[in-house]
């Protein structure tokens, strides 16, 4: 088909046949990703709503439960996620410039930071199991010196706090696990040289997902760890 060189030249092998051009494909893909994130807002929104209502009802218990969480590990994990968001943002840029080695390095750094986050989270969860703060049959809570002498702490209500803590951090961690898996696949393809300045949508969309998961944690940290820390 040498009589139509213009069409042959402009066709990118990554372009799906139902899109007019690469730009349209990128826009459609990006819009789809943002729509997915909108459903994720709804998904996490339900849990945030439950959290707000129970926090309103059981504030003393939520404050007591929050105080048992390790604020240092929580803050370190926030910093780890922020660093991973930076490596993701830089990896999109590396893909835009077609820098293969830099892209692979940054993606691997993102995966490692994601695993560090999950590791720290695992340590926190393990200590909750040791302290019998996991809701259920063996739940036990010794209220340390109550901040307000008149408030009675009901251990049953503290279970609600820890239920929400495990549900919210658990679902967040599940998103992190999925994100790490996603980036592992992208690293493989990036290493193979699949992404360049003309085609890097998968990196961009995975990046959007990762940043979204980061934003969820940005809210979880103050809501779960910092309820009533004042001396």
């Amino acid at each position: 088909m040498s009589d139509s060189p213009a069409i042959v030249e402009s066709h990118n092998p990554e372009q799906q046949h139902h899109f007019a051009d690469m730009e349209q494909q990128r826009q459609a893909s990006s819009l789809g990703m943002w729509l997915f994130l909108a459903t994720e807002v709804m998904f996490f929104g339900g849990m945030f709503c439950a959290y707000l209502i129970y926090r309103y009802w059981y504030y003393p218990e939520f404050a007591a439960g929050s105080k048992t969480l390790d604020i240092r590990l929580g803050a370190i994990n926030t910093a780890v996620l922020i660093c991973s968001s930076l490596t993701v943002a830089l990896s999109v840029r590396a893909a835009q410039f077609g820098k293969r080695k830099l892209l692979v390095t940054l993606l691997v750094a993102t995966i490692l930071l994601g695993l560090v986050f999950l590791g720290i989270k695992g340590v926190e969860w393990a200590s909750k199991f040791e302290e019998h703060h996991v809701p259920g049959y063996s739940f036990h809570f010794e209220p340390q010196a109550p901040s307000h002498p008149n408030t009675k702490i009901d251990p049953q209500r503290i279970q609600i706090f820890f239920s929400l803590y495990f549900a919210m951090t658990g679902i967040h961690a599940l998103h992190m696990v999925i994100g790490v898996g996603l980036f592992a696949v992208l690293t493989f393809y990036a290493w193979k040289g699949r992404y360049n300045s003309a085609y890097y949508t998968p990196i961009e969309n995975a990046g959007l997902y990762w940043h979204f998961v980061d934003i969820i944690w940005i809210y979880l940290f103050p809501l779960l760890y910092l309820i009533d820390r004042k001396k």
């Binding site: 730009e23 990128r26 826009q27 990006s30 819009l31 943002w34 729509l35 994130l37 909108a38 807002v41 709804m42 929104g45 339900g46 945030f48 709503c49 707000l52 209502i53 309103y56 009802w57 604020i71 929580g74 803050a75 926030t78 910093a79 922020i82 660093c83 968001s85 930076l86 993701v88 943002a89 830089l90 840029r93 835009q96 410039f97 300045s197 961009e204 990046g207 959007l208 940043h211 979204f212 980061d214 934003i215 940005i218 809210y219 940290f221 103050p222 809501l223 760890y225 910092l226 309820i227 009533d228 820390r229 004042k230 001396k231």
Partner: protein
């Protein structure tokens, strides 16, 4: 390259701002501000989320109006969920669950 390319300097600046704000929010939590502790914590969290959205997620540079429509709808629906639910629960007498 149709997408806007952000300079690395700006990325590093946002990164440092996010880390500083994390430190601030953890530090302020130990100071007794009464009901303002929660307000300050959530304001800082929202500021951080906006920084991530605008710069890391490129919302500031997007030329596609549909992206903004999706983001604004998502936040609007979240607002309906939270505001209407809390309008119910916070106006009932306590203990009448």
């Amino acid at each position: 390259m149709s997408e806007h390319v952000v300079s690395t300097k700006l990325y590093y600046a946002i990164w440092i701002a996010l880390l500083v704000l994390t430190g601030v929010t953890a530090g302020v939590a130990f100071i007794d501000l009464g009901p303002f502790n929660t307000i300050v914590a959530l304001t800082i969290a929202t500021l951080k989320a906006v920084l991530v959205l605008l710069f890391f997620m490129h919302l500031k540079y997007t030329s596609e109006k549909m992206t903004s429509v999706v983001v604004i709808s998502a936040l609007f629906w979240l607002l309906i969920l939270l505001a209407l639910s809390l309008a119910d629960y916070t106006t009932r007498p306590l203990g009448v669950n």
